[in-house]
């Protein structure tokens, strides 16, 4: 029973990490149809931001809190730079964005190596986040996992509200649903694209801060996560956040269950097979935005 709950929580927290990483992609890939392979390197940028901040802000807790908005801005700025320099020319060629941004990700990784060195760097976690909460029945829940779960939920809520309620959000949705109509309605679509990309990339930065609590901080830290995150968005369905949310948690729990019952390797393969099978059933993902000519 303890183990069962422990595994369930592990699954949910794997899902939370997936969700944090995939949320930005749900914007840039889901809403703009850009396959940004450099998203993983934006995560890396967020993690290194935490590291750099810790050099000046000695309190682990404060530096983490400060790192959240700063990493959002840093990764977002990188995203805008990428959008302006390259992606803007490629909106009609989504597959080519994949290749171009893969090239960008290579360069960013090497840049990180040149700046910070090849070996991993360390950040300190605040004491509060290295402990755990003991629940009745001998169950313990790690604080850092709870923090990330909370952060993921907060990010989803904030993004959903922003898309629903703010003028910017309405403009983003308008552009997603009908770019031409939005343009003739006086929406500066280019600026909306840039803002969407800023937010999507910024979320990667936030994910990077969170990941410093869990894993290595090094030049290649983003590459491991990126494929899984893309699968989340693909299976979740383009154009809506709720699909990604559900799928992230579902895949997390499936992965954790598979890991427990078999091995980590086999669990990965099981997840892949499940995804292919799922796409047989719903090739457009869990939720689809129905429009007549979905580009």
């Amino acid at each position: 029973m303890t183990v069962l709950f422990g595994q369930l929580f592990t699954g949910v927290s794997i899902g939370a990490v997936l969700l944090l990483v995939a949320l930005g992609l749900a914007l840039t890939f889901g809403q703009m149809n850009v396959i940004n392979m450099a998203h993983g390197e934006f995560i890396m940028a967020g993690a290194y931001t935490t590291y750099v901040l810790q050099q000046t802000i000695t309190s682990a807790g404060w530096s983490l809190l400060v790192a959240l908005p700063v990493a959002f801005a840093v990764a977002g700025a990188l995203g805008v730079l990428l959008e302006v320099l390259l992606i803007r020319r490629l909106y009609a060629r989504p597959l080519d964005t994949l290749l171009v941004t893969w090239g960008v990700s290579l360069m960013l990784q090497q840049a990180a190596r040149d700046i910070f060195g090849s070996p991993n760097v360390q950040t300190r976690a605040p004491a509060l986040l290295t402990g755990n909460v003991a629940l009745p029945g001998g169950i313990t829940v790690a604080n850092n996992r709870l923090f990330i779960l909370g952060l993921a939920v907060a990010a989803v809520v904030a993004l959903t509200l922003a898309l629903r309620l703010t003028p910017l959000g309405r403009r983003i949705r308008a552009v997603v649903q009908n770019r031409d109509l939005a343009a003739v309605s006086g929406i500066a679509t280019a600026r909306v694209d840039r803002t969407t990309f800023f937010v999507g990339s910024g979320l990667a930065g936030v994910a990077g801060v969170a990941l410093t609590l869990l894993g290595p901080i090094g030049p290649t830290m983003g590459t491991n996560l990126i494929i899984d995150a893309f699968l989340v968005v693909v299976v979740g369905g383009i154009g809506q956040l709720k699909g990604s949310v559900i799928v992230a948690f579902a895949l997390g729990v499936l992965q954790a269950t598979g890991e427990y019952l078999t091995t980590l390797s086999v669990a990965k393969v099981i997840v892949f097979v499940a995804i292919v099978a799922f796409l047989q059933w719903r090739p457009q993902g869990l939720f689809t935005l129905r429009t007549r000519s979905l580009a």
């Binding site: 390259l86 009609a92 597959l95 290749l99 171009v100 990700s105 047989q280 689809t288």
Partner: protein, 394 residues
Amino acid sequence: MTTVTGPATAADEPAAPAPPPPARRAGGRARAALGFAAGAALLFGAAPLVLSDFRLALLAKYLCVAMVAVGIGIAWGRGGMLTLGQGVFFGLGGYAMAMHLKLADAGPGALPDFMQLYGQLDELPWWWRPFASPWFALPATVLLPMVVAFGLGSLVFRRRVRGAYFAILSQALAAAMVILLVGQQGTTGGTNGLTDIQGFFGYDLDDPVNQRTVYFLIAAALLGLLALARQLIHSRYGELLVAVRDGEERVRFLGYDPATVKVVAYVVAAGMAGLAGALFVPAVGIISPALIGIVPSIEFVIGVAVGGRATLLGPVLGAVAVAWARTALSERFPGTWTYLQGLLFVLVVAFLPGGLASLWALRRTRRATPDRPPWWRRVPPARGGRTRTEVPAA
């Protein structure tokens, strides 16, 4: 548009004489034959004369990559399917060949060395057994990848999973395949892969003369694949494939099942990658998961993009050029090579999507059709997945 040559209106439509065949058709075949002869002279004559044994072995390796590139050129360049998991098929071909050669090295009834070391197996696993026979293993190097591609392609394309979805899925396939192989260390060699392959059908691979012959085999196979690819591209199927790339739904409304068309191209590309993998093994003496994962799979694509994805020769020249540049540059500037590789990808794909071949094609088409719009106003010739009339599946 002032001078409208409208459709023939009235009943004056007896069968008009067939339009003159395209001018380039006549010279096309002769030029192709000439090209092949030149290629053969280069690969069989000049290269072995000029290059040292070591450099020739390197060239053999590059040519294997080029074979994969020919297949990607068909699937991606002509068919619009960006396959980021071609390493899987390369690996299937390579492992099939390596399994046979390992068994042959071990001798009848004996276990390959690594199985004794890491697997502690007493007998050969059942799925290794058929590979003892060359009559099974050799066809399997090509057929096994094709069967897997057929299975996956049928599932995926029939359900209209395409474009970016397909690209990501194919990439995940590569990742899954690596994990699977690495996890079964006792029977697959794990991360080490299958190494230390000594003999090739009874011939000692350490002998430089035999290494050279392996090079000739590879060169011949590449020329063969090029001939096959040329036939495919110029066939009616080749035209249909381009049509599917540029307007999958439109093709469907003409009564074709685009899924079938795509599966065929995907399967052909997989077979080519399989053959390349199979020949890579005697040339390099190793096949390992490191050759089939996400990164090598995407690196296969670089060469194709650089050379020109939609052309016949572009992918081959691009693949060889990129592989060569990698060797040459990483010897001197390892860090710089990473930057350069990234930059190459960015510049070519973003600003020259037709690859280097489009520079060449530009010269030719400008001579051939003077009324074409200048290249900077034209839609890039090779588009990815987005089709002109993409309509949601019900």
